[in-house]
């Protein structure tokens, strides 16, 4: 109640300070109205354009068709889960029957053999990109710090990095596939080969931007900070921990954000190309199916891919804010 009254007084006071109200309205317009307006215009343009594009698979999907597809993709997911439950029940019964006949049998519960739903594919892609990214970070950041600290190492490694950086990771994909199938031979693999292929491709694409940004960040530390470290006679490890890392965090994270964005794009392409499970395979399968729903399902996947890419970027930004001592550096 009291807040209400205070609000009213604020408003009634506003004659006196019309400037504040103007500012408030301005803020609301900026934060809400313009984005909403932009979104509505986008929807309008999309549906108008969609109506006018005829493909051999029917009209290009408009917003309504895509929304319907989200519904049916979710329904499919639920149906598939029900089938999975029934699958496990049947399996238990069969195992029980076999034990009754053949007491030596050690029953084993096998994973559901049905198809991966759209939601499963999203999860697969996310796990792949995160693992590839993590592996790259573990290798690239120490390497980048070492390169940034040591001039000779920098001149030794820099040319190699510069040559590999512009290579599309997709060019690596065939090599990765062959090497993985040659070296990764176990009768009972922990992770499937297809996962390794996609993951290594992602790693290869994350590696170079992270190395470069980390080394640049480390090399360009304020000389005052380096001098402080010298005066205090910090051990090399403490120097890295207390001076180098905090000072170069913004650059390191810039590199990480860049590479995560690229990694997400590359992963989708790699999954399409190599038919590895994930969103890319979903898109390719739908394209191959050529059913009348295919285009709207692909469009639904495109929106999801974009939205996840956006969330990944925001997530990295948030982490950067948390770990960075200079809060302003992340605001870009």
């Amino acid at each position: 109640m009291s807040t209400m009254t205070s609000f009213i007084t604020k408003i009634s006071d506003s004659n006196a300070s019309s400037g504040t109200v103007k500012k408030l309205v301005n803020d609301i317009t900026k934060a809400v109205i313009f984005p909403v307006l932009g979104f509505l215009v986008f929807l309008l343009l999309w549906s108008v354009a969609a109506q006018n594009i005829d493909t051999s698979l029917g009209k290009f999907p408009g917003p309504a068709a895509v929304v319907t597809q989200f519904g049916s993709l979710y329904d499919e997911h639920v149906r598939e889960r029900d089938k999975a439950v029934a699958f496990y029940e049947r399996q238990e019964k069969r195992n029980a029957a076999r034990i009754a006949k053949d007491p030596d049998y050690v029953p084993k519960i096998r994973e559901y053999t049905g198809k991966e739903t759209f939601l499963d594919q999203i999860v697969t892609s996310l796990i792949t990109v995160m693992s590839g990214f993590a592996v790259a970070a573990v290798m690239a950041i120490p390497l980048g710090i070492a390169v940034g600290l040591s001039k000779p190492l920098n001149s030794a490694i820099n040319p190699i990095v510069q040559v590999f950086k512009p290579v599309s990771p997709l060019a690596w994909l065939p090599l990765v596939t062959m090497v993985v199938s040659a070296l990764y031979v176990t009768p009972d693999p922990i992770v499937p080969k297809s996962f390794l292929n996609s993951m290594i491709t992602v790693t290869l694409c994350c590696l170079w931007p992270m190395v470069i940004n980390t080394s640049v960040g480390v090399a360009s530390i304020d000389s005052d900070l380096v001098n402080v470290s010298k005066v205090l006679r910090l051990s090399p490890l403490t120097h890295v921990r207390k001076i180098v890392l905090p000072a170069s965090v913004p650059m390191i994270f810039t590199g990480m954000r860049l590479s995560l964005g690229v990694a997400w794009m590359v992963l989708i392409a790699a999954e399409m190309l190599a038919q590895n499970p994930g969103l890319g395979k979903f898109v390719w399968d739908e394209f191959q199916n050529g059913s009348s729903d295919s285009l709207s399902r692909i469009m639904a996947a495109v929106l999801v891919i974009g939205f996840i890419g956006f969330l990944l970027d925001r997530g990295m930004l948030q982490i950067q804010r948390w770990v960075s001592w200079d809060k302003s550096s992340a605001d870009r």
């Binding site: 051999s56 698979l57 049947r90 399996q91 069969r94 076999r98 053949d102 049998y105 084993k108 096998r110 053999t113 198809k115 199938s181 080969k193 038919q275 399968d285 739908e286 191959q288 199916n289 050529g290 059913s291 009348s292 295919s294 399902r297």
Partner: protein, 461 residues
């Protein structure tokens, strides 16, 4: 080419398999089938309606009845699929009949692939683009109601190909794989109409198959056929369903002939596994064959009564994934040629009738004769060589074991299968070819000499 080693091996295995077959026929008593040695299996397929037995065996629980837990994965193209089976990523797959034969022979990747189960009869079609169809149309005789007389022969296409040739434009057509049924059917149809589809010369390193060709044939994966036709890269193609019907639905092409008209009840896909797999997991092999036989029977049961349900299964995005109507067109006994010209072809897809699932040696030999005719087999081979090669790849002994155990368990009756006691694996002389040439599987060299276009006995490029 170094055929010597394969031949030696072929001889040894052929002798071995003959002994096995003989052994089986003596001990007819159906001992109880053991549990599968390997229970978790992954099978590959290409998005075509004739993969139906695999999908049905999964969805109707026939695999699970055998204690098999099967994952079914679509493959990008036939090469990827074959490599998957060879390197063990896949335990078995829906294959082109020519694939196990070519692999065993060493045309392409060399590997011992066998087949205990033939998946279907017929099911393919040849489609040309709208533009080519308009040019062909004047050359086709018409019925009273104005519709073209079927079967349409390649004679109607010949003037069009000649026109392109005289203008110096290559006449490109698509097929799905160098050793695919589609390649041989398209070649058969073209050659029967006097259009030369080109020779292979593997001993000279030429595996493009375009030597002396009037029409240039190249490989395109089945699901991409309609898109490639639409793009104008090819003027026509031979492929399995639903990719002919999809061209009609999309309005981009016209199916002119089905393989049922080229060769009535021709054997099509097979289920391929490595020989190593069948030796290491004999119970699993028999059990998966049993599941597939039951699925095939289900597909043809009660005069195709289950087909609508099968179409529904196939239209799921993880199987063929095309629209229900497109798949239903061919699976439920009709085939739409030119838009609106829907005709009854009740046997367009046969999965079980006419002993469709039994791996006949004579079927394998037909593919071998075509490989020889077009130069994929570069040198002359004796009739015995053909028979040995067929016996090495096609394994009616495994099929027989599966069938007999199904009969013993009362799941099926003996009259649904060939009479195993008398069956020698050779169909009688077959007469239903578009050019009227009779095929007798027991005399392959005589058969090859009957064609006017193609290599004959003794000819080497």
């Amino acid at each position: 080419m170094q055929w010597c080693t394969p031949i030696k091996k072929a001889l040894i295995t052929a002798v071995a398999s003959v002994t096995i077959t003989a052994g089986v026929s003596m001990s007819v008593s159906a001992e109880e089938l053991g549990y599968p040695e390997k229970e978790e299996l992954t099978f590959g397929f290409i998005k075509l309606t004739d993969m139906a037995p695999i999908a049905v065996a999964y969805e109707k629980g026939f695999f699970e009845d055998e204690g098999l837990y099967v994952t079914i994965e679509a493959q990008a193209n036939w090469k990827v699929l074959l490599d998957g089976v060879i390197d063990g990523r896949l335990d078995g797959a829906h294959m082109l009949a020519g694939q196990p034969i070519a692999a065993t022979m060493g045309f392409g990747t060399k590997a011992d692939i066998i087949t205990p189960f033939s998946m279907d009869l017929n099911g393919n079609g040849i489609t040309v683009s709208n533009d080519i169809w308009e040019q062909m149309k004047p050359n086709i005789p018409k019925m009273d109601d104005g519709r073209p007389v079927h079967p349409i022969k390649a004679d109607a296409l010949k003037p069009v190909v000649e026109k392109y040739k005289s203008e110096g434009k290559p006449f490109n057509m698509g097929m799905v794989f160098p050793v695919s049924t589609h390649n041989y059917e398209l070649r058969y149809w073209l050659a029967a109409g006097g259009i030369h589809p080109g020779f292979y010369a593997p001993h000279k390193g030429d595996i493009s198959g375009q030597i002396d060709a009037d029409a240039l044939l190249s490989v395109t994966p089945p699901p991409q056929m309609p898109a490639t036709l639409e793009a104008g890269t090819i003027y026509g193609y031979c492929v399995g369903e639903p990719w002919n019907q999809q061209a009609v639905f999309k309005g981009i092409g016209v199916p002119v002939v089905t393989d049922y008209e080229i060769w009535k009840d021709n054997p099509e896909k097979v289920f391929g596994i490595t020989r190593e797999f069948s030796e290491k997991y004999p119970n699993t092999t028999v059990r998966l064959t049993r599941a597939l036989i039951r699925a095939a029977k289900w597909l043809d049961e009660n005069n195709n009564a289950n087909r609508p349900e099968a179409v529904k299964i196939l239209s799921q995005s993880n199987y063929v994934g095309a629209d229900y109507d497109v798949i239903a067109n061919s699976m439920t006994g009709t085939f739409e040629y030119e838009k609106g010209d829907k005709r009854e072809v009740p046997d367009f897809n046969v999965f079980f009738r006419y002993n469709a699932t039994f791996p006949y040696y004579s079927d394998a030999i037909w593919y071998l004769t075509q490989m020889r005719r077009w130069g994929q087999i570069a040198e002359d081979k004796s009739d015995d060589w053909y028979k040995e090669m067929a016996a090495k790849v096609y394994r009616p002994d495994i099929y027989r074991k599966a069938a007999e155990s199904l009969v013993a368990e009362g799941l099926m009756s003996a009259d649904e299968f060939p009479d195993f006691a008398k069956e020698d694996g050779y169909r009688g002389p077959q007469t239903h070819f578009i050019d009227g040439i009779v095929y007798d599987g027991s005399k392959p060299n005589e058969y090859i000499n009957k064609f006017s276009i193609g290599l004959k006995a003794g000819e080497v490029l």
